[in-house]
């Protein structure tokens, strides 16, 4: 039969010569190859101490933004929860009381805002739906944990830190 590739080799069962039988030169050659890799740049990084640079459109953990005066932007309109294909977002709205004007931007705010990070598929539709530019998926990779309930992130984990604490 015609060979299909040029990689065909004819097997020869010649007896080994003295150097090949001695075994040690082959060991030395193998060790040399191993030693050479010690001085190369490693391809892995030690996550989480080191992190790779994310691409510009990377979508990570959600954050609820504050405006330029440090007020929460979210007004609990529910459009993120409506657009969410995984139904990961739930919220409860509350009315802003007099005296809380420096905390919340609109007259209604989210008293409870929860995202189930196990359900979330990081599609970014909530970000697109938000009319108040309040939610962005600009965070890190969601850290691992042991219990399912710890993946339901509330406002304590989602809202940005205040401007001047």
């Amino acid at each position: 039969m015609e060979p299909l590739s040029n990689k065909r080799k004819v097997v020869d069962n010649k007896p080994l010569n003295f150097w090949e039988r001695a075994y040690l030169p082959a060991i030395a050659q193998g060790l040399a190859i191993t030693m050479k890799h010690f001085f190369r740049k490693p391809v892995t990084i030690s996550y989480p101490e080191e992190k790779r640079e994310f691409s510009e459109n990377f979508r990570g953990m959600h954050s609820l933004k504050r405006d330029e005066n440090g007020k929460e932007r979210c007004t609990a309109c529910g459009l993120c929860a409506l657009s969410c294909p995984a139904e990961a977002i739930t919220m409860t709205a509350a009315e802003r009381q007099p005296g809380e004007e420096n905390l919340y931007r609109e007259e209604k705010y989210a008293a409870v805002y929860e995202i189930n990070m196990l359900r979330c598929i990081f599609c970014g539709l909530c970000e697109e739906a938000c009319p108040k530019e309040a939610i962005y998926l600009d965070g890190d990779i969601v850290p691992s944990d042991y219990l399912r309930k710890d993946f339901i992130y509330g406002k304590d984990k989602l809202v940005e830190a205040p401007l001047n604490p």
């Binding site: 529910g78 409506l82 709205a93 009315e95």
Partner: protein, 331 residues
Amino acid sequence: MKVTIDGISVEVPDGTSILNAARIIGGDIVPPAMCYYSKLAGSGGKCRTCLVKVSKGSEKDPRPMPKLVASCRTNVMDGMEVQNITSPEVIEARKGVVEMLLINHPLDCPICDQAGECQLQDLGFEHGAVKTRYEFDRRTFNRIDIGDKIQLHMTRCILCYRCVYVADQITDHRIHGILNRGDHSEISTYIQAAVDNDFSGNVIDVCPVGALTDKTFRFKNRVWFTKPVEAHRDCDHEKCKGEVTLWYKGDDVLRVTARKDVYGEVEDFICNTCRFDKKKTADWVIEGPRKVSHQSVISSNHYDFTPLPVVKTNLVLQEANKEQFERETRL
């Protein structure tokens, strides 16, 4: 009387308005109406969203009408020909009317409780421009409590007068009305006297925008997360039939409203006891889920359950299906 609206002819009795003739035909050719309310005598003629073009006055006098007319206030003549959506002039005028209505209306649909079932929102979506040309501050008011169950936020009011007609015609004595004139006019109760009447809650249902809202439902939930269910009860009030829509979230009744037809008008006015005080499933006889147009945001993420054809003939499967349906669609 024979009248032709957008090329569709219909026979209507004498004295019918063009808008009602269009509603007899139904479909896309019905002009939108923000202020006209078929259950309230004298309503209409304020908002101008129902403008139509009369291209032929009547059989006897075939001249077209010189200007666009408000279809809720113009009666039909024999042989009249009307253009609504087939006339670019009407569409353009309606766009202008929407822009006019939105001059003082705040664009805070994310906050407003009416969003999702708001006629002005639908109208703005269909006809409005993306941007506003208005550069001045919108007029703002403080919120007013009309009684302990109804809240009036005049900022959102478009002065359609519907609630005033309700107070005039449905309730016994009228306490609230329009104060001042022109640009300064506002809906108010005189010196904030509480509207205390068995039917006062109906002003919430007739309000086409979110100016009059239910305080027991205020900011509780968005309408599209609630599930509308038709229900009725034996109401003691002689004028109230007790036929309502319950808006469920989980097992809780968040809100009770009257049943609304395709034009957003209530079928029967309901009393305040039904509306505000009966918020338990035990109070009501459930009739079934309310039919919601698939284009409405209220029907989003609610899935219609249609069993396979084989299920319709097999009784065992039917029983199993019923159990599964009850398990999966908890009210």
